[in-house]
Symmetry: none
Subunit: 199 residues, 4 copies
DNA sequence: AATGAATGAGAGTTCATTCAT
DNA sequence: TATGAATGAACTCTCATTCAT
């Protein structure tokens, strides 16, 4: 008869749950999963410790929700960013730029996804497999329509995602870099990607 | 402050310390830092729990040692692999191949470094900064001598390292992939990098 | 830093905290600080081990609280005892008598303060400095009004406090001595103090 | 067949044992019994940890030896100091002065004896009972020969010892006080003791 | 829906002591 | 006699989770 996390049925409940999610993002994203105590989260949310378990089954549970949220956010942001791209390569460029922007804007959420590899590999894999799948489809299409040179789309997708992730970490998360820096990063990287390293 | 980790003074001590390092790599690399208990490590090493603290100050301490070890290993492996490369681009290709091989051969150590971002950011940064520095120098030299097209070497180094890291994760760690797969990955990726995506 | 001892917010919490203080006094006063395990204290209080840390940050923390409590108790008891003394010397006598009574009545708390010298020198010093200050002021006043012979009040205060403490230990703590014994001790000591040892 | 502490049979053994005693006094007297680790002691003595147990059965064992040593030292020092006293009261005065000197000269050993109350009550009691016994005998004799006014010698002995102990702590141990301070303390205290507080 | 107290398993760490050399 | 490694019991403290109100 143990109680299990419910969906909020009232306005107040919705707000509490939302506050918990924000607090969890903040705390976990800043201190890391292990160092983040439920007490830290509820304190940050300004509610009692017990309340946490009304909305989430466990610490892992909120964590997973956050990863899913980042998935939705990334998908939405990228598809918006790419919506009016004139061609595939430009779409890629805009996608990378948008991704760096996410890292800069939501650094804690970004951290959460990265840590998922160690905290909840399942959702980590799901996150990246989803992107890879989509990415691979786009790249294949681009090849098919002759926009880019032929090549293994899956491998390329992982290579490009790896780049994006690390660039997000270095030039997005870091408070030391500006929007202009990120613009330049995208330019440099796409110069390399489009035209290759050969002289 | 009362006692601090000693360097072993006898043969036996050296062996014990080494056994602990191996066990720590195994256990932490497999279960993750948080889930790995000191008891797990000493059990794996076949020694008493207290013995751990003769050689290491804390769990973080062994962890840091492992990251350093991975640093040495990577440096050595890559420099060996690249030693007889005819030109810069080939060197890069050999370097990536060797890196994937490390991931395949020492997956647990690989995991440790990746988790360092969350467990001991200092050593994580040190690890990658060192490689970036070296990488950047090589890329600059290549530009200078006309082997590759001009471009920001630092940004390129992070982009390339990001690729390598993720490819190591996907095609190196995974038991599902073979040496041949890794060869192909390197071919594909270098095709893209050298000649670019443009048709 | 993640969590810190709370002040209880409910009746139940207050009772639990109080029970812990009593149990700590009992156990630490009886076995000594080092030998007293938190588990002993919580067992004596009839609660779970973890509950201790809801109300106290550490073993040192309860210990300090006990020393403070002894400070309050002693101040209150002595000032009550002395309230209606007709003159300074009588006040001193009543004060000593009351002090011995405290030792007899709260032996464990008495022990705690004595051990504070080794466990928490800060609170030990605070305890005695406070008394010395007060004592010194009284002695100075007595000299000023001609009730006692001139002499360095600070030195006298330490000498008299030293006497009191040791007599409390020998004739107060010990179950072998009775109230009558303590009366006699006070008589003897004050005979010496008032009239001196010279024939 | 467990090995037990032996008396040293060689010159070298004697030196090692002596070094351990000195180191134990230093370390235990400075950090307190609980905080002093055997490793601290052997490190201070410049010998290996295991060697400790060649000469002492346990940590308590060295501690007890130190208390005994302090007993011998105090007895010797006081009896030397008092040897040529012209009368009983002067002897008391010289005794107190010598005692303060011990505190100033051997502060760590002094601390050890004080802590004995909590670490090894048996030797603590033995230490003070021995002095009280002797003290009581002297005071009785003084009364008998008319040098001091009649009064309970045992009670007086504890009162006077209590004074001495606390004065030793405040004016002897403290590096803030000088020999001159201690002279004055003795003067003040004996003025009070001899002539009484009454105007 | 919310609160705050309570739980108790479990983790890291210390250290007196023993052992093999 | 001395060494330094090894042991393992014991202890403090943390924290996810549950419970009563």
């Amino acid at each position: 008869m143990t109680q299990t996390a419910r969906r909020p049925r009232t306005r107040r409940g919705q707000e509490t749950r939302a506050a918990l999610l924000r607090a969890a993002e903040e705390v976990i994203g800043a201190k890391g999963f292990a160092a983040a105590a439920i007490a830290d989260i509820t304190r940050a949310a300004g509610i009692a410790q017990g309340t946490f378990y009304i909305y989430f089954d466990s610490k892992e549970h909120v964590f997973r929700e956050l990863v899913l949220e980042m998935g939705r956010l990334t998908r939405k942001t990228l598809s918006d960013a790419v919506a009016h791209a004139p061609d595939r390569l430009t779409a890629e460029r805009l996608g990378l730029r948008a991704f760096l922007e996410i890292a800069a804007t939501r650094p804690t959420l970004y951290n959460v996804v990265m840590e998922a590899r160690f905290v909840d590999p399942g959702s980590y894999d799901a996150y990246f497999q989803a992107f890879s799948k989509n990415y691979t489809r786009n790249l294949s299409a681009a090849v098919a329509e002759g926009t880019i040179r032929p090549g293994d789309a899956a491998i390329r997708s992982w290579a490009l995602m790896g780049m994006a992730v690390t660039l997000g970490e270095r030039y997005g998360l870091s408070r030391a870099h500006t929007d202009a820096d990120r613009d330049r990063v995208v330019d440099e990287v796409f110069d390399m990607l489009e035209r290759g390293l050969r002289p």
